[in-house]
């Protein structure tokens, strides 16, 4: 997937033939070309184009209202685009029923029938995909084992925990052995262990099944860790896309230089750490990081520009904390993370 980082630009008018022209090139299993959708006068998607290769995980990012859910619903044939075209494993978007045979989806808020057990649920959906009952049941049992729910196969889904429901939702998305799997906020509401387990599962889906995975998430760290590629949407347009490392690298070159670091320390020691860092002359200011209660944002003085100078100051900061026996749980330069790219690129839309 070619990487690009761009500020929002006006999208080209798309025609189905464009997507068809790049069909089946480079092992791409999903190609979207200039997808557009409006709800009344309000445009939700303004020319979405990207592609996905087999065995890779693509992160779909964007602030609320950026058009992620609309994009997912179009690509999963729940909504029809106003313009544009997409192809899944060689099947054009004019054949939605055929596309649905090729994709697996875990929607953001998937409901479950109250009176069904896990295995009944998977068997039912297997049959809806055209499998005979015995075959669908066998596949269901295999999938339940794969997602770690074999012990609860005959329990009602209404008795499952949130994490278990997400896992059976993923199992359902895999019941037809899909070429492309769409996962919309799969880790939402899970505890850290649950998140880790689910992300491992997502990785295995892509690698072992050679399926392309589109992962929609607000958790930027999760996208950064698990995804190979990323598409960042803002106000219905793609503002960055490509391999995660390349997007971050290119953003660092194009975005204004940041002169700050972030340090994670245990919450009870935050005040002590701030006190200590203030005594370092090159530290201009320290403040808690918004949305991350145990992280400190340390703003450096203007004199701290330049790689060697930055490394010297970073060392001083770390040494000071170590001497004071304050455990350092995390340390990162601002501007070097996907979060920084995201914040910068979507700033306009949010404002």
């Amino acid at each position: 997937m070619p990487s690009r980082v761009a500020r929002p630009t006006s999208a080209k008018s798309g025609r189905p033939s464009k997507a068809r022209s790049i069909l089946r090139s480079d092992g791409q299993i999903l190609i979207a070309e200039d997808l557009r959708k409006s709800y009344g006068p309000r445009p939700a998607l303004r020319g979405l184009s990207f592609s996905l290769q087999a065995g890779r995980i693509l992160g779909f990012l964007g602030p609320n209202g950026a058009g992620k859910t609309t994009a997912i619903r179009i690509l999963t044939t729940i909504l029809e685009p106003d313009a544009g075209h997409f192809v899944v494993d060689g099947i054009g978007s004019e054949h939605p029923e055929k596309i649905r045979r090729k994709i697996g989806v875990l929607p953001e808020s998937l409901g479950f029938p109250r009176q069904m057990t896990g295995i009944e649920y998977l068997t039912y959906f297997g049959q809806l995909y055209g499998r005979p009952a015995a075959d669908a049941r066998a596949s269901g049992l295999t999938l339940l084992e794969e997602v770690g729910l074999q012990q609860r196969a005959k329990s009602l889904i209404s008795t499952y925990s949130h994490g278990m429901r997400q896992r059976i939702g993923i199992a359902r998305a895999l019941i037809n052995d899909p070429v492309v799997v769409f996962l919309d906020e799969p880790t939402l509401g899970l505890d850290p262990r649950g998140q880790q387990e689910l992300l491992s599962l997502v990785r295995r889906i892509a690698r072992a099944r050679s399926a392309g995975v589109i992962l929609c998430s607000h958790m930027l760290s999760e996208i950064e860790v698990v995804c190979d590629d990323v598409v960042i949407l803002s106000a219905g347009q793609v503002v960055a896309s490509g391999a995660v490392t390349k997007v971050i690298g290119q953003a660092q070159q194009t975005l204004p230089q940041q002169n700050a670091v972030r340090i994670q320390v245990p919450s009870p020691l935050l005040a002590k750490a701030r006190q200590l860092l203030k005594q370092i002359p090159e530290v201009r200011n320290t403040a808690p990081t918004v949305g991350k209660p145990d992280w400190l944002r340390v703003e450096l003085a203007d004199s701290a520009h330049g790689a060697s100078s930055k490394q010297h100051i970073n060392n001083r900061i770390l040494q000071a904390l170590i001497r004071a026996k304050i455990p350092i749980l995390g340390f990162e330069a601002e501007g070097g993370r996907l979060q920084d790219v995201f914040m910068s690129l979507t700033e306009e839309a949010i404002e």
Binding site: G111, G130, A208
Partner: protein, 473 residues
Amino acid sequence: MSELQPAKGRQGEPSGRTLPTWWLVFTRELADLWIGGKALYLVLIYSMLLGILVYVLSFNSELSLIPPKEMVYEMLKNAMAVSLFISLIIGADSLSGERERSTLEGLLLTPTSRRQIVVGKFLAGISAWPAAFAIAIPYLYVVSQGDEVLGPAILWGGLLGSVLVPAYTSLGMLVSFWSSSNKTSYFVSLGIYMLFLVPAQLPGRAQTGAAGQFLQWVNPVAATNHFLSKHLVNYRTLAEFWTWLTSPVVFAVLSLGLLFLYAGPGLRLEGGRSSRLWSAVRRATGSLMLGCLILALGVSPALAFQGEAPQGSGLQISIDLDYMVVKTGDKVEFNTLVTNQGTQASPPLIVAMNIINLDAKGDVVDPEDWSPQRTQYIDSLPAGGSASLGWIINTILDGDYMVYMVLIPAPESQSATSQPVASSGIHLTVTPFTRLNPGGVLPYAIGGPIIVLLGIFLVFRLRRRAIDTGAPR
């Protein structure tokens, strides 16, 4: 979690013996409705309502005087009304409820035809009717008291219910299809249900007037009730009243056609989007409701004030019955002949029936309780002309009665009067009829709901055995 198996070739077209989507959806929905679902509880409430109704009919001394035929008709009418309500509610929840519970998206993501999903849901939706009708049969049996009306009641009730229930279910599903929330769907469905009840609430005269008759004829529920009443209670034949079956059949064809041909293929995740049609339907429903109300309020007074006309003479009235012994609840049919023996055409004529209790200590008779046709009207009779009128009396109370007719020539003007002519009388002796025994009805009244409750318990037990509840066994 174990390692995921690498995909050994993607699944292509279905292979092996697969079941059609509509069947899969139907069986799934059936299980949802009947295993701890709303159908089970609605049918339980329904059986309790019928139990209460049958007990009230037999226990209340006034109500128990109603002839068995009318009791069967009342029972059938109520059983059908509640069954239609259940069908409408199930239909109203079928799509918008799934939207709200976020289960519709999963279904729409499968490569199945939207129409087949709708067909499956519809078939599950009408599943409450056979159960409800089966529950009603013992109650019909007990109120019929061995009357021959039971067979036709079961036949016609079953047939007409099987026309109206699918129509109501599809109507509920159509509302659900276009509703963005379940609350809206229920509210609109309830409004429609009330709308169909409007003609029954019209004042008596308005119901028998031309506009009232037309409203009843157009309304599928009122038309069905009218047909059942005439056929089961008044011995009218199918040939006489088949036209009253037109509106239920047309209503069913329309709503089923709209559901399967128009709405079904367009089933989507969001409701209420194609609001142009929906707005039109809502506007039409509102206008119809308003129209019915205006008719209800306007027709009755208009009819009440009609008819004052000039006087005539040389008129006679005779009856083809002199004396009859019947038992309470029997029907008495007779004819009157009105002749104009004068030399001029008569003015318009009014024939009124009177029933007098011959026992001075007996109850005063209200003829309207005894006959639906207390008064009949004749246009002007030419000189030497005659007109025959048919009458029906339902004998409500035992005793000795005199039935006679009064022929009233319409007065010429507001200030004029006319000379009524009385017929000979019919001496009617009504013997008592064995009433429904409240004690005998009680087992049915209580037994019905208990059997349904046992059924629910059994379903739960069987289900609990099939699933892993986590509890030690």
